[in-house]
């Protein structure tokens, strides 16, 4: 099963490489990864999506917790949560396709953020499934470039990941 694990870690050089190194070293896989400082500049928040059975996920969270730079973590998929990813796509937009791209973007609540005579740059946010669906819809028109941030997430309700 796919899990979204969010980690608060020391904003120190080398902390990220310890997390990433752990996945490589123990043969766990990383599907997406994103990281940025939080409102507290001494802390970074890193979110990783990974796939594994319960046993593997248990080992991953235990080993992550063992890293000295990791302060706290949560497996968001264990409870209700909001998952978001941002993607920017350059698609061909010539002739009839130009309208088609615009219409599809509207359906997906995506925005066109840059234009040239021959292409549109579309920005879209949502969960990973929505982004995949958008790419599928755009495929016949011709996708030129894709930039995805990787999944970020937060728990629903009163639950808070902080110190």
């Amino acid at each position: 099963m796919r899990h979204i694990i969010s980690i608060l870690m020391e904003n120190e050089p080398g902390a990220l490489s310890r997390v990433v190194g752990l996945f490589a070293q123990r043969n766990y896989n990383i599907e997406t990864l994103n990281v940025a400082p939080t409102e507290d500049p001494t802390l970074s928040r890193l979110t990783v999506t990974t796939v594994g059975d319960d046993r593997v996920i248990e080992q991953i969270t235990k080993h992550l917790n063992k890293l000295i730079d990791v302060v706290k973590l949560v497996d968001l998929t264990e409870g209700n949560h909001i998952e978001r990813e941002l993607m920017m796509v350059k698609v061909k937009a010539l002739g009839a396709a130009r309208d088609e791209v615009k219409r599809t973007a509207d359906i997906f609540r995506a925005q066109i953020v840059d234009v040239t005579p021959s292409l549109y740059t579309v920005q879209i946010t949502g969960d990973a499934g929505k982004l995949d669906a958008f790419l599928q819809a755009m495929a016949p028109v011709g996708i030129l470039e894709v930039a995805r941030t990787g999944v970020s997430g937060i728990a629903r309700g009163d639950k808070v990941l902080s110190l």
Binding site: R18, Q59, K62, N65, I68, V71
Partner: protein
């Protein structure tokens, strides 16, 4: 307020931390530190002949004393030479602090002379690592390094120190930090009481229980408690290779150690048990054999300080995360005054175990006759006898290591010193040096093979410099015996590179360093040689003992089998 340079801070910190010996080797990036060490006399630096030996020596000291060992090396090749020793300590959870010189900060990343990203290289084999970014950080970072290395599940910590951080011209305030706190590191201090109760209930109800305890009981200083608990319950106990001596081996309740080359009765008892009480052990593949066939009828209680060890390879029915000592103490107080539910079943269980013991008694190996080459097993028995079972015994890796573990009997912990997790040939001799430096009154014996010894024999020179009187027992079978054994069993005796056609004359080699070496070729030469070798506790003596090269280590678990599936000799199997 005291102003010190980074280099002086390091020397001062080591004094304040109570470090007596550091093992190291100098080089450009570490020279300010070496100069600071030169200008004081409390911390004694032992100059090894290869940085790997520095790590093993510090590691040997740590295993014998339970305190962190300290290593100092220079950048680049100095640091990379230490890598094998860091990995060795990591795999066996040994506390160690490794100080590495580094090129000047402004050169980092430029492929400067002797620059290696040692933090990157060692990342998967350290508990944690630090880079010094300002000299004023040194006291706190070093305190954190020792704190991390020696608390929780211990392990090696690397500190990377760019040369400019130790420059003699820049001085900063020095205060020895008595305590450190790290918000992201809070090792557990006790186990979950509810879980401990559950475990004790299972223990009291068990019909065929067995304790299976590991190195965590030794590093966790829980051996006395363990002995009390096991005695109170009257259960059998088997330990891992790393846990040898945590419970006295001469006691009838001890079945020896378990696993690939463990005792017949240990492996049989594990397989037939209805309750396995694992403490400070990690269900290593050299113990469990095939996990899907592991202990088919047993419930498993697993106590470990490291949550990631629990249910890693074998699911625990009652997981308990906590330090061995406090969990064991809670168990003792819960057991006190209680009766076990099935004393008659326990009696039958002991009968069964004794019958396994009887089955193999006197059949373990065939002793040699006068005029013949010695058997390695009997050499170890003789070494055990002459040292009254009280020596610190270090080993290298191979058949001799297994024979040492099988035939030397340990009643105390911290005495059998071996590279269990990584299996590092070359470990034994420098580890023995590190122990002997700190325990000069004790017998320190390195049991080695001619293959392993040649990996670290340059340390004879270190022993000469510091007068380190370790005894070296070389079980010379003229081959990489353990490799050869596998080739005999799995490759139709095709001995690909498992023998050495050009062994040195060890006697001449040892004599070149001014030490005594005795060659033992026949059965009757052993006793006088041992008496000579152990006559003077402070003299290094090398015993070159020619043992029967055809000997295999048995029992040996059959690959992919259960605990009980063992070869018992060249012709028998379970």
């Amino acid at each position: 307020m005291e102003l010190l340079s980074g280099a002086d801070m390091i020397a001062r910190f080591l004094q304040d931390e109570g470090v007596e010996y550091i093992y190291g080797y100098p080089g450009g990036a570490a020279l300010h530190i070496y100069d600071a060490l030169f200008r004081q006399d409390k911390v004694k630096h032992i100059l090894v002949r290869h940085e790997q030996a520095a790590t093993h020596a510090a590691d040997g000291y740590a295993r014998a004393s339970g305190k962190p060992g300290t290593v100092l090396v220079t950048s680049g090749p100095g640091a990379t030479n230490a890598v094998t020793g860091i990995a060795t300590a990591y795999m066996d959870s040994i506390p160690m602090v490794v100080l590495c010189g580094q090129v000047m900060s402004h050169l980092i990343g430029d492929d400067a002379f002797q620059e290696t990203d040692i933090i990157g290289v060692t990342r998967p084999i350290v508990k944690h690592s630090f880079s010094i970014r300002h000299p004023s950080e040194i006291p706190e970072v070093l305190k954190k390094a020792y704190y991390l290395a020696s608390t929780g599940r211990p392990g090696p910590v690397v500190v990377d120190i760019p040369k400019d951080m130790t420059a003699p011209t820049e001085r900063y305030e020095y205060v020895y930090p008595k305590k450190v706190k790290m918000r992201s590191y809070n090792p557990v201090t006790r186990g979950h009481t509810g879980q401990i109760k559950k475990a004790v209930e299972l223990m009291l109800k068990a019909k065929r229980p067995v304790f299976y305890t590991g190195g965590g009981v030794v590093t966790g200083r829980a051996c006395e408690g363990l002995t009390d608990l096991v005695k109170q319950l009257g259960f059998p106990i088997t330990t891992t290779l790393m846990g040898i001596g945590a419970f006295p081996q001469s006691d009838d309740q001890c079945l020896g150690w378990l696993g690939m080359h463990g005792s017949y009765e240990s492996n049989m008892a594990m397989h037939h048990a209805d309750l396995v009480i694992a403490i400070g052990a990690r269900f290593d593949d050299r113990v469990t054999n095939n996990t899907s066939k592991f202990c088919p009828t047993a419930k498993i209680v697993h106590v470990d300080i490291d949550p990631s060890s629990v249910s890693k390879t074998v699911r625990a029915d009652v997981p308990i995360v906590g330090p061995a000592a406090s969990v064991i103490n809670e168990m003792i107080s819960l057991v006190q005054g209680k009766e076990i539910a099935h004393p008659e079943a326990l009696g039958e269980w002991w009968q069964k175990i004794d019958s396994w013991r009887d089955e193999r008694r006197g059949k373990l190996y065939e002793p040699s006759e006068p005029g013949e080459a010695l058997k390695p097993q009997e050499v170890i028995e003789a070494v055990c006898k002459i040292t009254r079972g009280e020596a610190f015994v270090t080993t290298d890796v191979g058949q001799h290591q297994m024979f040492a573990a099988q035939y030397y009997h340990f009643d105390k912990p911290n005495r059998f010193i071996t590279s269990g997790g990584l299996g590092t040939m070359g470990f034994g001799f420098p580890a023995a040096m590190g122990i002997k430096k700190s325990y000069p009154q004790d017998d320190v014996v390195c049991i080695t093979g001619e293959g392993s010894f040649q990996m670290m024999m340059q340390e004879l020179s270190t022993c000469k410099q510091y007068g380190i009187g370790v005894k070296i027992v070389n079980l010379n079978n003229g081959s990489l015996g353990m490799v050869r054994q596998w080739q005999d069993l799995n490759y139709k005796s095709r001995h690909a590179h498992s023998y050495m056609e050009s062994l040195p004359d060890f006697q001449k080699l040892i004599e070149a360093y001014g030490f005594t070496a005795i060659k033992v070729e026949r059965h009757e030469d052993l006793e006088p040689a041992l008496e000579r070798a152990f006559a003077d506790n402070n003299e290094l003596v090398f015993l070159d003992i020619y043992v029967d090269p055809r000997e295999h280590v048995y029992p040996m678990q059959v690959p992919l089998g259960a605990m009980r599936d063992m070869l018992l000799s060249k012709t028998e199997r379970t």
